[in-house]
Symmetry: C2
């Protein structure tokens, strides 16, 4: 069903089609626009605005778990930054949820050889009893191995899954590893275990453990769930190899207060389109973070990139034709709550979301772009790729991309999408750890990634292409 906002798209299509009819490498910007874009890309590439924003967020706010003081501060901070950076409109949309608090975590191997263990509660885990629990360790190399044992066969045991995540440039090792974190406690509880411990979902070898969300299931006993650092997992495996009973102590004081409603907000800002203000090019990141580290990579970098990209465009003499909307999502880490709220509030306006791209994979240079657009728009994507090629970005020959993270919900609702892939080889060294801090960000990589989003946003807003399938 066509709605009034689409009239402007049709206008655009007329212009766009005229070019597209010419060749597959059709010009989608005028020569003057191309010149302006080229200067804009260079401005972004040389600017430390994104780094300064990130330095401000990580220094002045710190971590920002849904419902925490940092979360509240970040919402004030983000609105102020948007205003200072020249956004035309700034507003928030409330997001509510539960407030999980990490508390303290302690773990040690008691026998056969006592060792202190570096441990972290998984996000959402319940506490152990106040005095902690001590039990023998039942070791499984994979979640599948744990699933394979009979129900109720692990009474009085702590289930330990030692699967090691693999390192890959595109982060594809995360998928096979994260299942234990999200669903392992439910599986272990069905087997009768009193707790789940797991090797951290991470590619580093630091004595730093990785948190991240876990889930309970209605009707299944809730048990405490925690991750231990990779070196500690190695040590535990080495002790288990000795074929003596390994006794483990775990204490968590994590809890969720059911009486407390955590109140957060998506923070949204716009550079209003000069010709088609209702047509929205959305770029996004999530403002929340885990409550360890300062959320510099996950997703402070994305926040900084999106704010800086809009700022660079706002500095041009004239606003691009379409509106550029920066969406800083709340509560991504605890279950895409901000994204779900955005969908709820904007579902009737999804057709106006011309194209979108999020960034939530923060470290390393962008080396690849993948589109998820209509076939008819592929020549325009080729054109965009030519603007991005000097930045070292190659166009994937696939056209099946969703936007990352929160915006994947918008992609699923039909929003044309771009996915810009960074070299993520090191991302999971730091992901969801205390080590997610500003020093992990390479300022030059941040400039490049900011330049990519700046270029994309201008191109999508100014060219008038219809990317919709």
């Amino acid at each position: 069903m066509l709605k009034s906002p689409f009239q402007s798209i049709f206008k655009t299509l007329v212009i766009g089609s005229a070019f597209l009819a010419l060749s597959s490498s059709a010009q989608t910007l005028t020569d003057n626009e191309t010149k302006e874009l080229s200067q804009l890309t260079n401005t972004a590439l040389q600017s430390d605005v994104s780094y300064k924003i990130l330095e401000s967020l990580t220094t002045e706010v710190g971590h920002r778990l849904m419902g925490s003081e940092g979360d509240k501060k970040s919402i004030v901070w983000a609105q102020a930054k948007m205003r200072a950076l020249g956004f035309d409109k700034v507003w928030t949309e409330e997001v509510t949820g539960t407030f999980w608090q990490r508390g303290e975590a302690q773990a040690k191997i008691i026998a056969p050889y006592p060792h202190k263990v570096v441990v972290i509660a998984l996000g959402g885990s319940i506490a152990t009893s106040k005095q902690g629990l001590t039990a023998q360790v039942a070791h499984f190399e994979t979640l599948a191995d744990l699933k394979a044992v009979p129900d109720n066969s692990l009474h009085g045991k702590i289930a330990f899954v030692s699967y090691q995540m693999e390192r890959h440039i595109n982060g594809k090792g995360y998928g096979p590893a994260v299942g234990t974190r999200v669903g392992g406690a439910v599986v272990a509880a069905k087997k009768g275990a009193s707790a789940l411990i797991m090797r951290s979902v991470g590619t580093d070898n630091n004595r730093i453990a990785h948190t991240g969300i876990m889930r309970y299931e209605a009707g299944v006993n809730k048990i405490p769930a925690a991750a231990i650092s990779n070196p500690d997992a190695d040590l535990l495996v080495n002790q288990l190899k000795r074929n003596k009973p390994v006794s483990f102590y775990l204490k968590l004081t994590a809890h969720t207060d059911p009486k407390v409603t955590a109140i957060s907000a998506n923070v949204i800002g716009e550079i209003t389109g000069s010709e088609f203000p209702n047509e929205i090019v959305s770029i996004g990141a999530h403002l929340d973070s885990w409550d360890v580290g300062t959320g510099a990579l996950d997703d402070g970098m994305g926040v900084a990139m999106m704010l800086a990209s809009a700022h660079h465009i706002a500095q041009l003499p004239k606003r691009p034709k379409r509106t550029i909307r920066v969406i800083l999502f709340a509560a991504e880490e605890v279950g895409l709550l901000g994204a779900k709220k955005y969908m709820e509030l904007h579902k009737d306006n999804m057709a106006n979301h011309i194209i979108g791209a999020e960034w939530d994979f923060g470290v390393g240079k962008i080396y690849k772009m993948t589109s998820g657009v209509s076939k008819a728009a592929l020549p325009a994507i080729d054109s965009l790729a030519k603007y991005l090629a000097p930045l070292g970005v190659k166009l994937s020959n696939e056209n099946n991309a969703s936007a990352q993270s929160d915006m994947s919900l918008m992609s699923a609702a039909g929003m044309p999408s771009m996915n810009f892939s960074p070299d993520g080889s090191k991302y999971f060294d730091y992901h969801h750890t205390e080590n997610d801090t500003l020093d992990k960000v390479n300022p030059e990589d941040l400039k490049q990634a900011t330049a990519v989003y700046t270029t994309f946003a201008y191109f999508a807003a100014q060219s008038g292409i219809n990317f919709r399938k």
Copy 2:
């Protein structure tokens, strides 16, 4: 003064000189010995014995701070290992000292922007008061800057030195950085500060702080001293740049019980020489470690290398001519207490120590050897260098080496010495941290380093060279 043990050296010199007279690349081993050495080197190079020893130490004992349970366990462990590995004699020599206990450490930035800080007490530090202390931070980029302010000018302040250690292959960045750790608290106390905090002496960017020994001075007020991780130091510097007062909270519960005498021991084992049992080729490492991590690099790797080297030589059909003595020193970290005790007990026998080499710089392949021997023995060093060249070890053209660490006291007392230098680029990423764990050891590098010490020990014991100046 010549003493009886030297008679055997003179015998040796006769043989040695015969070869040395021939050329500067004089043969110092017979063809059969060379063949045996070559096989021995290959055995060591292919053997995982050293890795297995290290795995055992780090898994079954763990960290081994002077006076701790781990220290006591390690002494039992080391003697048992020596016996199992085929040593001819095994004994201990008691070493006493004080027992410093780390307790707990907490730190946070209170204002202007609250952050939790990763902190570790420096070894020997006193505690803060039970409730901790909160004070404004006075920032100094170097210890020299702190020294430069007037005495008693920092009352009510915490002195913070933010100097960043440099990364170098030979670890030369340690010297300029470690002064703050050892002596910074005395300087800060003279200035009136209530505590010293410093950027960790380390080259990593992990949220893990580096401990290490510090000293108080008689007549100077004792103040608590702690190191914060590099990323936390960055954050603190960034807050200080904003020119608002930065308020910092520090709590340490570290203490030394003056009534408790810590009892430890040097663990010594020998492969007894078949012709000159009183002539000692000593190879060593320190058995103690800091009470964080498992002391895998510092100095478990050295312990494993020395035990494995002696073991490989003990597997030969015949003992080499001289005795090979493995000295595992106690209490190196807290001030070379084991080495000092060894000197005290063996000072009258120092002349029998023909040559020695320690290893206390544990990570990476050995790439260089430097001698500290008589000029007359340099051709023999050339000869040794030829045996080690296939392992990638180059001979330095200097001849001024001390042995590393504990054995430097023996070098200073006239013992001819070798210093084998590894690629230490990454050593100070892990040094004195929780991150000093087995996974940081590259098994292939450990084989190479073990092969170097095995080759050296056999060569020095079998060739009969007089290395003494």
